[in-house]
């Protein structure tokens, strides 16, 4: 006779441990994300591609297939080519300015000073304020009559009233304005990215560079910057993608004006497709973003993989 008790066999359902199976759990957890992307990104994209190849307008909702005719017409329109150029100027101009401001900001915030924590929290504000509110505030800064910037410069004796620039009335200044606003919105994000990158650089590496004879500039541009380049590139991808597709600042501040000088792809697509009701041409304009963004993303991801350290 055995002295050891027999184990009690409990009847278990065959589904009792189903979530312990990795394959099942993976499928269940990933499915919502995939369904979401397919329904809310994939489907509209396919729809847009179809619209761009059709003659669909809200007045004549036909599904008639017209091939690449819409694209041909758009490319022959000189206004569109200006819009395309504006989009690039706006995107890369504001990213460049945002990165420079972000790097300065990050270095300032790395220095210990009283109230640093509060400043770190406040610096996120431009990023957190709704773009509509922020843009209205900026509109007042750039207003042709009540511009705060002009008033300050006149009061300081730098300009006379006659010389005061009409910020939103001059094509070049208007572009500068939307670049400044977008850079202002983007730079807190750049600061966060830079701070994360710089604090992740091991102190030993920076100390080694100091002892090896590197001064401030060499440490920054030969050691720290190359080491944080991958994380910077991720930030830049985000910045470029969001700016390239953005229409809110243009819509709220300039309405593409003066004379189309600040019209960007998103805005032009919206105007043509939604406001004017020419869905087919609007979709075709918007689709011009696709190859550009694809190239940017592929280039950046390849770059990151190459620089991986």
């Amino acid at each position: 006779m055995s002295a050891i008790a027999e184990p009690v066999v409990k009847p278990t359902s065959r589904f009792h441990f189903i979530f312990d199976r990795r394959a099942v759990l993976e499928t269940v957890l990933i499915a919502p994300a995939i369904i979401y992307v397919l329904l809310l990104v994939g489907l509209p994209l396919l729809l847009a591609i179809y619209y761009s190849l059709s003659a669909y307008t809200i007045y004549d909702p036909t599904w008639k297939f017209v091939g690449l005719a819409n694209f041909k017409q758009i490319l022959q329109n000189p206004t569109f080519l200006d819009t395309l150029r504006n989009t690039f100027v706006f995107t890369f101009g504001s990213q460049l300015l945002g990165l420079v401001l972000g790097k300065f900001g990050a270095f300032l915030l790395l220095q210990p000073f009283p109230g640093r924590k509060i400043v770190r929290a406040l610096i996120i504000l431009p990023f957190a304020v709704p773009v509509a509110l922020a843009t209205i505030a900026w509109q007042w800064m750039f207003d042709s009559l009540y511009s705060v910037i002009n008033w300050t410069m006149i009061a300081a004796g730098i300009l006379t009233r006659e010389e005061a620039p009409n910020w939103l009335g001059n094509p070049y200044l208007a572009m500068l304005c939307i670049i400044i606003i977008n850079a202002w919105r983007f730079f807190p994000f750049a600061i966060v990215i830079f701070l994360a990158g710089i604090t992740a650089v091991p102190q030993d590496v920076i100390d080694a560079a100091t002892v090896d004879g590197a001064g401030f500039w060499r440490r920054n541009y030969q050691i720290i910057l190359p080491m944080i380049l991958p994380i910077m590139a991720i930030g830049l991808i985000f910045g470029i993608v969001f700016t390239f597709t953005d229409l809110s600042i243009v819509f709220l501040l300039t309405m593409g004006g003066p004379g189309g000088a600040t019209s960007v792809l998103g805005f032009a697509g919206f105007q043509t497709g939604i406001v004017s009701g020419d869905v087919a041409h609007g979709a075709a304009i918007s689709l011009f973003m696709l190859p550009v963004l694809l190239v940017v993303v592929i280039f950046m991801l390849r770059f990151i993989r190459r620089r991986e350290i």
């Binding site: 030993d204 590496v205 080694a208 100091t210 002892v211 004879g213 590197a214 001064g215 350290i309």
Partner: protein
Amino acid sequence: MAAVLTRDIVKKFNEVAAVDGISLRVPDGEFMVLLGPSGCGKTTFLRIICGLEQQTSGDLLIGGNIVNEIPPRARGVAMMFQSYGLYPHYTVRNNIAFPLRTQRVPREEIAKKVEWASQLLGIDHLLDRRPRQLSGGERQRVALARALVREPTALLLDEPLSNLDAKLRTSARQEIRNFQQRVGLTTIYVTHDQVEAMGMGDRIAVIDHGRVRQVGTPPEIYENPADLFVATFVGAPPMNIVSRNGGGYLGFRPENFLPRDMIEDGGATEFSFRVDRSEYLGSERIVYGVMEGFDSKQPITAKLPPAHVAEDSIRPGEWHPFAVKNSALRHFDTSGNRTTSH
């Protein structure tokens, strides 16, 4: 190459003194080890020498010149860090070349010197790899090559072996020592490992709470510790310390605390020793116990030589006659400093 001299260096962080008045003279070509427990200020002191920290007060002289106000890049000292601090985005070649590039050395000369340093350390086949593709030992050599390539006035090493496994550490210890002797470079080596300190140093400076407790050759430190801290910090197991009847303390090393019959001549002091526990370590046996009539905070240890390694000669739970040669007894006063008479 140059001598390094410090005069009463103090470094305070928020009124707390990490370095509390260290005066140390490291002659040209000497291998000086700074030995102390974690947080004793030895690394801070090293960082002051290379200029990464500015001392609160005191003078630092390298090669006879006061360098208090001179930035790190102009001091000419090289430092090797605990985690090596290699530049991950550079190849080994560019890592080694970096200190030369900062000095604006001509390109051909950089190539020549990188060649020289990498051959010296046997890493010339790794020049085109990046640090992440190297093993721990190889990284350590690259860091050493980078430190040496510009022929520094002094070489500072901050626990350079702590990231290596035990086996590699033994050989790396030899290599660094051989290498230093060949080049004749003034070297200051920080460690908390007394084996490294004893095995490598020309002299050792034992540091505790930001102060130098004793400076001396390894035998001086081991045989004649200046105070109770040095006595119990150096040596494994540490020196036995017991309170003396007339006040003060008596110290003796475990290997000098032997069964009575192993000590031939008369000049010895006898103790009655009860063994509580024993550890067999192959080449020796360490026994722990208490001594009749003496107070001690720690158990008394005795290191028995091979002749007594056999279990049956010293049985736990029994009292045994033990003795220490009088010449091996060390006396300390009530404040813990060694009194001159042995």
